[in-house]
Amino acid sequence: MSPYILAILLFSLGLGTTITFSSTHWLLAWVGLEINTLAMLPLMAQNHHPRAVEAATKYFLIQASGAAVLLFAGVINAWLTGQWDIHQAAHPLPIAIITLALSLKLGLAPLHSWLPEVFQGLNLTTNLILATWQKLAPLALMLQIQPPHSSLLIFLGLMSTLGGGWGGLNQTQLRKILAYSSTAQLGWMILVVQFSPSLTTLAILVYVVTTSATFLTLKLNKATNINMLAISWAKAPALMALTPLVLLSLAGLPPMTGFMPKWLILQELSKQGLPATATITALTALLSLYYYLRLTYAMTLTMFPNNITSTPPWRLPSAQLTLPLAILALAAISLLPLTPAAMALVAL
């Protein structure tokens, strides 16, 4: 792909998210989402092999129909209340439709089955954009609307943490595992969006950091399934010693950064008088923990019976830029002591 076209596409990705962030009108929010989808398609299909084109097709169909349903809800809202304002959409029917449309775009659990397949067809850089940047615009809309009936959001959140954990259990493909992980993490954010939007912002920030660190690690090792991960100790031994900590941070274990949003979300849920929801959510996180631990196990804790036929590749210099990975991995592991500062940063 020509660098000029790449520049146009990346600029439009930024433009779409910015427009959706700054819009107060449903039509403009829809335009931003459409720009995001359009600019993403050539990036997804840049290799033009069948799997990438198929992933782009599925992504296009899902995102276009999600955006159409979103705009339909906006029009219905205008007909019923005479309002186009995102903040003042108050009629329960459009709000419910909008929540479902945004869940489809985000890949929340009953509507998540497109996500692993689309992830599976793409290279790891595009996956990184898809898993982080493309989630921001729909999530910003989710934060801005008036909360719908609370049990809808709790249902979506619980289904996401459960489905995200369950779906990844039997997977050996890293990209699909990370897709399910994304669904599970978004479930945590959706659970708390009606009680404390700033906590959702904190959770998406931490999610972006930890997921970026994971994807960059995989990209450095060119690993797309567990077997390839199992021999990657020979490529980057020091990184492979750190990566289990990043993965456990993604799972939300205490000394790591990923514990911060989970801790605060559980606390918020208990404060709101939902101890049963908090308990179930914490238990479904164990399902996700299982596959993160399996990755850790295959990668570092055991020596897989695979033969390295050549010179250990860590002797060869790598051409990839490792500074972003270093910073993100460090942030993904060790930011838990900064919890009060992070909360002050995102306080609304």
Binding site: L27, A78, W79, G82
Partner: protein
């Protein structure tokens, strides 16, 4: 519910139904999407005409422009799929299960 509200809502829902349930061709899925956008255009135009608000009566044009972009991108994907998969049948889009 007024008749026009019912008419475009049911047209949109029919389009969504057609998009969701057992499509055979990618092109007919794209046509269903196009029909959904068309009913949204009708909804937006009749809303702005009914409200008599001048500032919102240009909105349908923007909607039409963006949905034309979407249809163009969809047709480009159709061509790309026909090149890589040899057909536009949605059943052939089954490579990504593994």
């Amino acid at each position: 519910m007024t008749p026009i509200l019912f008419a475009f809502s049911s047209a949109f829902t029919l389009g969504l139904t057609g998009l969701v349930f057992h499509r055979v061709h990618l092109l007919s899925a794209l046509l269903c999407l196009e029909g959904m956008m068309l009913s949204l255009y009708i909804a937006l135009s009749t809303w702005s005409l009914g409200m008599g608000s001048a500032s919102s009566s240009a909105l349908p044009l923007f909607l039409l422009a963006i949905s034309a972009c979407e249809a163009g991108a969809g047709l480009a994907i159709l061509v790309a799929t026909a090149r890589t998969h040899g057909t536009d049948r949605l059943q052939s889009l089954n490579l990504l299960q593994w």
